[in-house]
Structure formats: structure tokens, C-alpha cells
């Protein structure tokens, strides 16, 4: 082929790109409850994104396999690859929001950045956003953020749990202790600072901050200062992706005691400790779900896989992030179930599912009945409270597996709520939002 014809081919290609960009893919089937999945199976965060995505599709498939969907309405879903990139996340949202019989049920961005970008849009489109353990903490205020849910727990509450746990370890007081926060220098990593500063005044510990620039490959200086200069009693970490593995490794190499090093729930997956292997032994992190495979529902999913009905890579079953996605899926199906009580057993619109979320109460009894006992704590979401009073536990890496070492710990919400309210009020003022009335 000569250069000339190649050139025509190039021109034709450019035109055809424009022509095929129209998304006209029909929904999978009539009468499905459609759930868009924003996933990242490639890119820098793929090691974390893959088990998350696998957990979702396995759980939804399980619901269809076990009981033919929620209240007889089968679930359908479509994955859209975001590569953890905000723009692509927004594009995915726009692409998928009107799919299915009734549009998107709920959005799970699984990225604090994408959550921020979608809050305005989803509210406008009346589609709930469930940012489970990430996103804006102040979105717990359901009066200002009617369509955003932070259940079961926010970063601020996570910071509170960490401090509680450290205090308990120190025999009831943190007075005069030093705590260092190593955080990803982004919206996500900055979330806990205010809470930790506030608690420093109450508990009397000294807080030092160590931002780590994205993507977090460079932490030598940080850990030299921690290991040699600051010598804190505890290190808390808000890391993500490669930053976690690097931090664990560096902490070990400066000889920081691993059992005083506690990560947030995004810093405690298998991928974060595997590269450091033995050195990571003793490292702790929070988790919002139970650990391992010893739960009836997970066993059921294993059974489904044995019958050849599984969709995901079986190696991921029972991993930290897989379990988190299963719990996330469960919260969604429960909200849909609740909404069906009011609106009937048909594919529901986002707006209707929002009602389900606003009135969602997952009791201990219901959790046990569904086979999730120990996998999650009870939550109760109301119109004004979108956090749902969930809790977190502490887990530890034993060199092979993550092991839960505490039960679910409740954060001190009495102190947190005024903070949520104040921050949400500032947002409302800036955006000119009239808080809705929840009484």
C-alpha cells in the first residue's frame, strides 16, 4: 500500500472515529434493575480495582442465580473502565446513566475524585451516589446532599476510630504521645486532617503531617524523618495504590514497629502488603467489612463458582476488597428491596431508589438472615443521616492473611456530626443550595 492510499485510509479512519462514537447500545434486557459499574481493571490502581469489580459482578450474579434478582426483578449491570481517571469517570457516568429499563439505580464511583465530580451531576439527574467509605465526609448530611450516601462510615469517622484504637492500646490516654499522618497529597488524603487536629486538642497528642506526592513512589525522605527525627508513637496512613506498598516497605526499612502503623481501609488490601511480604508482618489497617471466606454468603458464592456460574476470578474471593464490594452490593440490593416495598416490584428509577436509601435500616437480624453475619455491622440511614451509623474494625497482616483483631468499633459520632453539619453548610452556601427539610 503506497503512502497515498495510506493517507486516504487515515482520513477515512478519522471520519469513522467520529461516526462510531455514538453510543447506541441497547440495555441487556427489558425489565432489569440496571446498575452501572465504574471499574478500573487497568492502570495504576488496577491491583485494587480488579478485586472490587470482581466482587460486584459476583454478588449481582449471585443474587440473580440464587433468587432471580431482587423481588423478582433481575439485576443487570455494565462495566465501564475509568482507569481511576476523573474525566473518564464522568464520561462513563454520562454514558451509563440512562441505560437499562429505568436508568441507573445507583452509582459507586470507587474514587474520591470521581465522587466529587459526580455529586453535582448525579444530584441534578436524581441518581443516588453511594460512596461507601470514601468521597466527601460532609455528604453524610442528607439535607444538603440528598442524593449522596456515605454509609457505613466516613474518613472523619475512620480517623476517630483510629485514635480510639490507639488510645485503647496505650491504656486509655494519648497524652504526650506523637502521631504522624502519612497521606496521599490529594482530596482523599486530606480528608482526615481536620478531625485528627481536633482530636489532638482533646486527647493531647501531637500530630505531625507528612504529605506524599502522587503517585507515592517517593517516600524515602518521609520515612527518614519519621524514623530518625520525629519518632512518633503511631503512624496513621491515608494511602492508595502503590503508595501503600512503598510506605509499608519503607516503614520496615527504617525499623518502625509495624504494629504501631495503622492504615485506613484503602491501605489494607492484599496488594498493599504482598510486595513487602515478610516485612509487612504486623502492619494494621482499618476495615469496614469482615475478613476472609468464613461467611455464609461468601461460601454460597464459592458454591456458585463450583457450579460453574461464577463470573469473576475465583482467586479474588474472600479478599479484602472483594468482600467490600459484596457488602456494597448488599447495601444496594437492600435499598432496592426497601424501595420496592413502596413502589412495587418493577425496575425502579434512581429517584425511587433514593427513597429506599433514605429509609434503609439493615438490622443485625437481617444481616444474619442474608448470611453476612460478621461481614458488616448494622446501619440505619435516614433522610438527614446518610452515614447510617456504621462501624469499622482493625485487622492485622500475619504474613499470609489479613486477620481481624478487634470487633466493629463505633466512632464517636456525637462529636463528628456538628463537623459534618458545619462543613455541609459551607458547601450549601457556596453552591446556593437550599437544604431540604427532613422533619
Amino acid at each position: 500500500m503506497g503512502l497515498k492510499s495510506l493517507r486516504w485510509a487515515a482520513a477515512a479512519l478519522a471520519l469513522s472515529v467520529a461516526a462510531t462514537a455514538t453510543p447506541v447500545v441497547p440495555a441487556k434486557a427489558e425489565g432489569d434493575q440496571f446498575i452501572p459499574l465504574l471499574v478500573y481493571r487497568t492502570g495504576p490502581y488496577a491491583p485494587n480495582g480488579i478485586p472490587l469489580a470482581d466482587g460486584f459482578i459476583d454478588y449481582f450474579n449471585y443474587v440473580n442465580w440464587k433468587e432471580g434478582g431482587v423481588g423478582g426483578v433481575p439485576l443487570s449491570w455494565e462495566e465501564c473502565e475509568t482507569q481511576y481517571n476523573n474525566d473518564r469517570g464522568v464520561e462513563c457516568y454520562e454514558r451509563l446513566k440512562n441505560r437499562g429499563a429505568s436508568g441507573a439505580t445507583v452509582i459507586n464511583p470507587y474514587s474520591t475524585g470521581i465522587t466529587y465530580a459526580l455529586i453535582g451531576r448525579a444530584t441534578e439527574d436524581k441518581i443516588p451516589v453511594l460512596s461507601m467509605g470514601y468521597g466527601r465526609a460532609d455528604a453524610s448530611d442528607g439535607t444538603v446532599f440528598p442524593y449522596v450516601y456515605t454509609a457505613p462510615i466516613t474518613y472523619w469517622a475512620g480517623a476517630d476510630v483510629m485514635v480510639q484504637y490507639a488510645r485503647e492500646q496505650e491504656g486509655g490516654s494519648l497524652k504526650g504521645k506523637k502521631i504522624a499522618l502519612v497521606y496521599h497529597d490529594s482530596a482523599y488524603g486530606k480528608e482526615p486532617i481536620k478531625t485528627l487536629e481536633r482530636l489532638a486538642e482533646i486527647e493531647g497528642y501531637e500530630l505531625s503531617l507528612f504529605p506524599v506526592a502522587h503517585p507515592g513512589l517517593e517516600q524515602k525522605a518521609t520515612w527518614l524523618r519519621i524514623g530518625r527525627q520525629v519518632r512518633p508513637d503511631y503512624v496513621f496512613m491515608w494511602g492508595w495504590g502503590v503508595m501503600n506498598a512503598t510506605a509499608v516497605k519503607e516503614a520496615a526499612s527504617v525499623g518502625f514497629p509495624m504494629d504501631k502503623f495503622i492504615g485506613i481501609w484503602w491501605s489494607g488490601a492484599e496488594a498493599d502488603v504482598l510486595p513487602a511480604k515478610e516485612a509487612a508482618k504486623g502492619y494494621k489497617s482499618l476495615n469496614i467489612t469482615g475478613v476472609g471466606k468464613d461467611f455464609p454468603i461468601v461460601q454460597d458464592i464459592v458454591k456458585m463458582h463450583e457450579e460453574g456460574e461464577g463470573l469473576a476470578d475465583p482467586a479474588n474471593i474472600g479478599s479484602v476488597l472483594y468482600n467490600r464490594a459484596v457488602v456494597n452490593g448488599f447495601i444496594i440490593t437492600e435499598a432496592v428491596r426497601k424501595a420496592q416495598e413502596k413502589f412495587g416490584q418493577r425496575p425502579l428509577k434512581g429517584e425511587e431508589v433514593q427513597w429506599g436509601f433514605d429509609n434503609l435500616a439493615i438490622t443485625e437480624q437481617r444481616i444474619e438472615e442474608a448470611g453476612l453475619k460478621g461481614l458488616m455491622g448494622p446501619i440505619e440511614i435516614t433522610c438527614a443521616n446518610h452515614e447510617g451509623a456504621g462501624s469499622a474494625l482493625v485487622q492485622q497482616w500475619d504474613g499470609e492473611n489479613w486477620v481481624a483483631i478487634t470487633g466493629f468499633i463505633d466512632p464517636n459520632r456525637k462529636a463528628l456530626w456538628p463537623e459534618y453539619k458545619a462543613s455541609a453548610a459551607q458547601y450549601a452556601k457556596e453552591k446556593g443550595i437550599d437544604p431540604r427539610n427532613c422533619d
Partner: protein, 338 residues
């Protein structure tokens, strides 16, 4: 290669270490709340920086090789590092010993180099540098996608039998806790030094090396005396690929092999402008300066601004150097004619 320059560079950079230390000591006295200074601590930071610098230099070397021989700014070097490391881990997962896997990965990189030369470079001879630069970004995407397609996106541990427990040497009065050295980094430093010596010998004393230097000097003149340009390019890209593999192994053992490895290319850029795009010793000295500068900057100056200044600090350092020497420390003098 200009040994005199190299010597001056090394002496100057070594000499500046105590000077910077003294300055920092003064600064620490002025702002005792923010900055913590002790000579033992300072030395430890500098040593960490030097070792880190070698790791940067390993990545930068690949850039220099290609730029020297073909004036192409190879953005895909980072992706080549990742691809090579992934290939090696792939072979190890097939049950091979790591040495064998290393050799096979090197073969893979040679094949990749030949393909790049055939498919990309050959049709683009004589294009402007920026166009070639763009083409290497294209290569970056292809390698990234291909690597993940073949070996998956999960993080993989790479174990070549180097212990992860730090050594504490020189324990004594000056260093109460001992000077901390991480075995991986020490090995990397040794491997880096070996690589550079090997490349220097290759360039200086072999026939291919002479041809390489001729090509670097002037493509057309080299062609006219009968040097096979395409062959030389294939060689250079292969060597860059193998240097990338070495870098990938070193970074991979400490961080695990994963996508983020391809991002370390960005850390090599300030090294490049500092050392000069065309100088192999420049890459090493530049790497050391950036490594030390970054660590010292972050540890002692960072706290004044709230930290995480590493990213731009290296670039600013490099930019200030450039204002005095626009061709980098060891770059060839730019002579312009109308």
C-alpha cells in the same frame, strides 16, 4: 567523553555536600521548630539520596543512549522498564530460575527493539524531533497495553534473592544507631556502576561503539562512510531495553512489579536535563545530584512549606542549573549557525 569535566563535576558535587550541610545547620538554628539538623542524620539523608540517585540514573541511562544515537527523546523508556520487568516476572512464574528469566527477558527486549526500529523508526527517518517524540508516546501506549494484556494488571512480587532487611553499618560514636543501608539499593548501586562501566567500554573500545559515536555525531556523515544506520539503531534500542530491564529489576524488587513502574520515567527527566541528554556519565552524576538534592530538600527544606516538594524541587534544581549551562552539565556545547 571528557574525563576532566567528569572529575570536576564529581569534585564539585562532593565538595558541595559539607557546604550545604553547614548552610542547613544555620537554617536549622534560625527555625528550630521546623527543621531538625544533626550531622549524622544529614549524612544518612545524603547516603540515602546517593543510593536513590543511582536508581534514577539507571532509568535515565536508557534515555541518554537513545538520545545520543538518534536524537529521539524516548518517552517510552518508562514503559520499556515496566514491560521488561513484567516479562521477567512472567518467565519466573513459569518456573524458571531468575537468571534464566533475566536472559529471556533480555531477548524479549531485543525483539521489541527490532520491532520498534522496523515499524516505527524506519518509516519516520528525517522527521522533526517533536514528531519522533510523539511516536515514542505512541510506543508507550502500545507497550503499556500489551504488557497488561499478556501479564495482567495485578501487582507481582519480584524476588531475586536479595534480602529486604536493612543493614546497619559503621555503628559507633558518630552513628549511634548505625548507618542504614538497604541491600536492594546497595546492589542497585553496584549494578549501576557496572552498567555504566560496561557501556563506557562498549562505546570507547569496540567497533560497534565507534560506529555508535559516529552516528551520534552526524547521521549523514556516518551513513556516507558506510555505517549501517538501521542496524545501529536496533542495537541502541536493544541496549536501552536491557538497561531498562536492569532498572525494572531493581525498582521491581523494591516496589513490586506494577503499572506505576512506568511512571518513574518522570523522575528521570530532571536527571537528564541536569546531566545533559547526550552524556552517559552525565546521567550518573545528574542522578546523584537529583537524588541527594531531592532527599535533602524534602527532609530539611520541605517542612518549611508543608512537605511533598520533591516533585518540583528536582525540576527547579535542574532549571536553575540550565540557566547557567543550557546544555546540561556534560552535554555537548550547542553551536548554532544561521
Amino acid at each position: 567523553m571528557n574525563l576532566k569535566h567528569l572529575a570536576i563535576g564529581v569534585v564539585c558535587s562532593l565538595g558541595s555536600i559539607p557546604v550545604v550541610g553547614l548552610l542547613l545547620q544555620q537554617l536549622a538554628e534560625a527555625a528550630p521548630n521546623d527543621i531538625f539538623f544533626g550531622w549524622d542524620f544529614y549524612i544518612e539523608v545524603v547516603v540515602t539520596g546517593l543510593l536513590q540517585g543511582v536508581m534514577y540514573a539507571l532509568v535515565a541511562l536508557g534515555f541518554v543512549l537513545i538520545f545520543k544515537a538518534s536524537a529521539i527523546f524516548n518517552f517510552a523508556q518508562g514503559a520499556m522498564v515496566l514491560f521488561a520487568a513484567l516479562a521477567m516476572v512472567g518467565f519466573i512464574e513459569m518456573g524458571l530460575h531468575w537468571t534464566l528469566a533475566f536472559l529471556l527477558a533480555a531477548v524479549v527486549m531485543i525483539i521489541v527493539a527490532i520491532l520498534i526500529e522496523r515499524v516505527v523508526l524506519r518509516p519516520m527517518v528525517n522527521q522533526e524531533p517533536i514528531i519522533l517524540f510523539m511516536a515514542t508516546i505512541g510506543i508507550f501506549f502500545v507497550l503499556d497495553g500489551l504488557g497488561q494484556t499478556i501479564w495482567g494488571s495485578n501487582v507481582k512480587a519480584l524476588d531475586i534473592g536479595i534480602s529486604q532487611t536493612p543493614w546497619f553499618v559503621l555503628q559507633g560514636e558518630f552513628f549511634p544507631g548505625g548507618l542504614r543501608l538497604i541491600p536492594t539499593e546497595v546492589v542497585a548501586a553496584v549494578v549501576g556502576a557496572l552498567t555504566v562501566t560496561l557501556l563506557a567500554v562498549l562505546f570507547q573500545y569496540t567497533k560497534v561503539g565507534r560506529a555508535l559515536r559516529a552516528v551520534a555525531d552526524d547521521h549523514q556523515a556516518a551513513l556516507s562512510v558506510g555505517i549501517p544506520l538501521k542496524f545501529i539503531w536496533a542495537i541502541v534500542w536493544s541496549v536501552a531495553g536491557i538497561v531498562g530491564l536492569v532498572a525494572g529489576v531493581m525498582w521491581g524488587t523494591s516496589l513490586g512489579v506494577q503499572f506505576s513502574l512506568s511512571l518513574i520515567a518522570l523522575k528521570a527527566l530532571p536527571v537528564l536535563i541536569l546531566g545533559g541528554f547526550t552524556s552517559i556519565p552525565g546521567a550518573i552524576v545528574g542522578g546523584l545530584i537529583v537524588g541527594v538534592g531531592e532527599q535533602v530538600g524534602e527532609v530539611f527544606i520541605g517542612p518549611l512549606f508543608g512537605g511533598a516538594i520533591q516533585d518540583w524541587f528536582a525540576y527547579m534544581l535542574a532549571m536553575i542549573f540550565l540557566l547557567f549551562r543550557p546544555q546540561g552539565l556534560f552535554g555537548e556545547r550547542i553551536i548554532e549557525r544561521v
